[in-house]
Symmetry: C2
Subunit: 314 residues, 2 copies
């Protein structure tokens, strides 16, 4: 059986009017054109759908069944159009994001505002480590990833969209805190608490010191950012982290920024996608949003942080 939507459409009109001529007028067709469509439909089901008795037309039993079917099918088509239309105009959609755990804090702020502006959109946010992020991209299981330092050569396309200042922090009682200015040579005498091998922050720091032809002593490496900060608070050593993760600690004064020469190291946050991936409409909009508007949104919570920075360099 090979019906066409056209046949159903025409049949519906005929079934409503029970009059080919009027149906033809409604459809802006000639009367034989209508007759033919109905006839073809009848051939498809190999049964008469309409019977003519005297002057009047009647639907047969099968005709009534077909009429119900036609109407239901056409309604579904309308629903589909509507749904797709909404998807295209972003009334609906599913934004699948993944972010590095260090980025979690400020991405949530970005998302909160974005979600507010697009109430019907579903958002998935996965917070995980670097290697999982790359895995997600590879499997096409997310639209966009936000991370600190994307690797080259994975068929990825990365765009920096926000400054990411890495700062040296220590507990308030630490002797370096009192100093107005700390040189790198002084700094490397300290013992470092630092992220695990393979972490984006870790490799950024390593590249920095390598560039200065200096080495630092690792006291402790951990994979949990919160644990690192806690160890630092306890005075186990100094650490280098994205200032964006320090909001709470700076406010509570459990950690302070050390004013080291050459710091902050200005890295960036990147939005990353698979090369060649055609982004969904909603993902495109989100990407535009963070590329263009992230600074403004973020500034509101980074401003107080930068004040800490200024204080430390006073």
């Amino acid at each position: 059986m090979n019906l066409t939507f056209r046949q159903l459409k025409v049949f519906d009109v005929v079934a409503r009017h029970l009059n080919y001529t009027k149906a033809a007028k409604e459809l802006h067709l000639s009367q034989p054109a209508v007759s033919m469509q109905v006839k073809q439909l009848e051939e498809q089901v190999d049964t008469p759908l309409i019977e003519k008795l005297g002057k009047k037309l009647y639907l047969t039993d099968v005709g009534m069944e077909m009429h119900n079917y036609a109407r239901s099918t056409m309604q579904q088509l309308i629903d589909l159009e509507e749904t797709i239309g909404q998807m295209k105009t972003l009334q609906q959609g599913h934004l699948k994001l993944a972010v590095a755990s260090t980025a979690n804090h400020f991405v949530i702020r970005l998302l909160a505002r974005f979600a507010n502006a697009h109430p019907k959109i579903r958002i998935s946010l996965e917070v995980t480590n670097r290697s999982s992020l790359l895995d997600l991209l590879d499997k096409n299981e997310c639209d966009l990833v936000i991370m600190g330092s994307p690797p080259d050569g994975h068929n990825l396309m990365s765009l920096p969209f926000l400054e990411n200042p890495l700062v040296v922090v220590a507990c308030p009682e630490h002797r370096l805190i009192a100093k107005k200015k700390v040189t790198l040579k002084e700094l490397i005498k300290e013992e470092f608490i630092i992220r695990e091998e393979g972490s984006g922050t870790r490799s950024a720091i390593e590249r920095f010191f390598a560039g200065q032809e200096l080495a630092f002593k690792t006291k402790l490496d951990m994979s949990n950012n919160r644990a690192i900060k806690h160890a630092t608070e306890e005075g186990l050593g100094v650490t280098i982290v994205s200032m964006h993760t320090l909001e709470l600690e700076l406010k509570a004064k459990t950690l302070k920024i050390v004013n080291v020469e050459g710091f902050p190291i200005y890295r960036h946050w990147y939005v990353v996608q698979r090369e060649g991936k055609r982004l969904s409409p909603i993902a495109t909009v989100f990407k535009d949003y963070i590329m263009e508007g992230a600074d403004d949104v973020i500034e509101e919570f980074t401003r107080p942080l930068y004040q800490h920075l200024e204080q430390s360099s006073r």
Copy 2:
């Protein structure tokens, strides 16, 4: 938007395999043919449905929506086919009958057996008088009518399918009952209770006597068959009715058949339809059923009646 079922079918296969080549094999098509169908579908909705990243294919959000739609639509089409198939093979359907009130009794017996053989069929039965029957036929509100003597010239097609013996009956105490053989001349001395002008039974009787060049005296005419029999039981006169309506009375011996020469008059029951009406499948089957099998079914209840007939002519 002008989708085709073909596009949906092909898209479904592709969406299931996420592989054009395999889909092509399943569909016994070349691979480009499959690509084209999908592409055309994408053009219809003006949105990509499938995206290719590296080697793998993925459904877009809209693609998933479309896939759901395609599957649902195809399932409905299958359901429709099934329903129509059942209708055609009479698993379903609606049989609309109308019968003359005098035929009611035995038609119910026919219907009971028929309904039993076709459990899913809906049956409407209208029991009414002659003029209403013709009206129903005229408005195409029933498939078939069963009546005693259909009129000519109403664009009707009538087929006799069962013997309809008209007999003279009287109350058991009536003097004619005692006689072995009653001549017509003797009979017309009696006073008759008879159906109203226009009734099928009435006109059959009138034609019979006119053929014999005799006239009968009407004591009472009534439109209700039961009332006629009751008046006869009370001894108001004799009457002539279809023997098929006498089952109860003969069994209860409240009426007896008078053995008149030339009686029973063998008329017929007819099945009547509008000329040119294409009967629904179920109506066709019902018509065949009564044309071929009515005698056998009816015989079981008419046999005892014919015994009464034999007794009266002994």
